[in-house]
C-alpha cells in the first residue's frame, strides 16, 4: 500500500515545478499553464487526504477547484487575447508599463 507521504511528495514536486515555471518562463500562456499545474498539485493533495482521512469532502473540494479553474482559464485567456491584440507580443517582459 502506498503511504500518504508518497502522494504528498508527488503533490509537492508538481507544485514546486509549477512555481518554478511560473517564476522563470516568459511566455504568458506557459505561465498560465504552470498555474494550472499548481492547481492540479493541490488537487492531488486534497484527494490523498480525502482517502486517508476517509472523508469524501476532500473530493467535493477538488470538484469546486476544477470548476473555478475552468472559469479562471476562460477569463484569463480572454485577457491574454486582449493583451495580444494591443501589444502584439506574448512576452511578459513587454508588459511593464507599471514598472518604475
Amino acid at each position: 500500500m502506498v503511504p500518504l507521504s508518497h502522494y504528498l511528495a508527488l503533490s509537492v514536486i508538481l507544485f514546486v515545478l509549477g512555481a518554478a515555471g511560473f517564476i522563470f518562463r516568459r511566455n504568458i500562456i506557459t505561465v498560465f499553464m504552470c498555474i494550472e499545474l499548481m492547481l492540479n498539485a493541490v488537487n492531488l493533495a486534497f484527494m490523498a487526504f480525502s482517502r486517508f482521512l476517509e472523508n469524501l469532502d476532500g473530493q467535493i473540494f477538488v470538484f469546486f477547484v476544477i470548476v473555478v479553474a475552468a472559469a479562471e482559464a476562460a477569463v484569463g485567456l480572454a485577457i491574454i487575447i486582449a493583451l495580444h491584440r494591443n501589444r502584439e507580443s506574448l512576452n511578459i517582459e513587454d508588459v511593464d508599463s507599471m514598472k518604475m
Binding site: 502506498v2 515545478l17 498560465f32 499545474l37 469546486f64 475552468a70 472559469a71 487575447i81
Partner: protein, 163 residues
C-alpha cells in the same frame, strides 16, 4: 497495484518537467495533457472514479482544448531569449531546490511512512459524491453556476474587438 502508482507518478513528473522546460507553448500544452491524464490514473488508484473521469473530461478535455485553441489563435511560436541578468537564473535554481527540499522534509516529519494497513475502501462513486454535493454543499454548487455564467460573460466582453 502499488507499482502502478509509481509508474503514474514517474510519468507525471517527467511530463511536468517537460512542460516547464519546453520552448514552444504547444508542446507544453500537450505535456500538460499527459500530466492531467496520469493524475487521473492516480485518482483511480485512490478509489475516486468519479473525480478521475471528471478530471479527464473537464480539465484535459475542455480547459486544455481551450488553451490549445488560444495558442493556435495567437500563433504563439517560440519563446524569445530573456533580457534578465544571469544572476537571477543562477540564484533562482538553488532557491527552488531549497523550497522543494524544505517541503519534502516537512512531509517526512509530519507523515512518517508507518507500516499501517491500507485505509478502508472509500466510496468515490457518483452516487456518493452526489449525496454530498446536493445536500451539504448545494449552496456552493448553485453559486458556481452563477460563477460560470459571469466568467462566460466576462470572457466574451474581454475578447471582443470593439465594446
Amino acid at each position: 497495484m502499488t507499482i502502478l502508482f509509481y509508474i503514474a507518478a514517474a510519468v507525471t513528473v517527467l511530463a511536468a518537467l517537460n512542460m516547464v522546460l519546453q520552448r514552444t507553448p504547444v508542446y507544453s500544452a500537450l505535456s500538460l495533457i499527459v500530466v492531467l491524464c496520469s493524475l487521473a490514473v492516480v485518482y483511480l488508484l485512490l478509489g475516486a472514479e468519479f473525480m478521475a473521469v471528471i478530471q479527464v473530461i473537464v480539465y484535459a478535455g475542455a480547459i486544455m482544448v481551450l488553451f490549445v485553441f488560444v495558442i493556435m489563435l495567437l500563433n504563439a511560436g517560440h519563446e524569445a531569449p530573456s533580457h534578465r541578468s544571469r544572476l537571477t537564473k543562477w540564484l533562482g535554481a538553488p532557491i527552488i531546490g531549497a523550497l522543494l527540499v524544505e517541503m519534502l522534509m516537512v512531509i517526512w516529519d509530519q507523515f512518517p511512512p508507518t507500516s499501517a494497513a491500507s485505509p478502508p475502501h472509500l466510496d468515490g462513486s457518483p452516487a456518493a459524491i452526489g449525496h454530498l454535493l446536493f445536500r451539504n454543499y448545494v449552496l456552493p454548487f448553485e453559486v458556481t453556476s452563477i460563477l460560470i455564467l459571469v466568467a462566460v460573460l466576462g470572457a466574451v466582453v474581454l475578447a471582443k474587438k470593439e465594446l
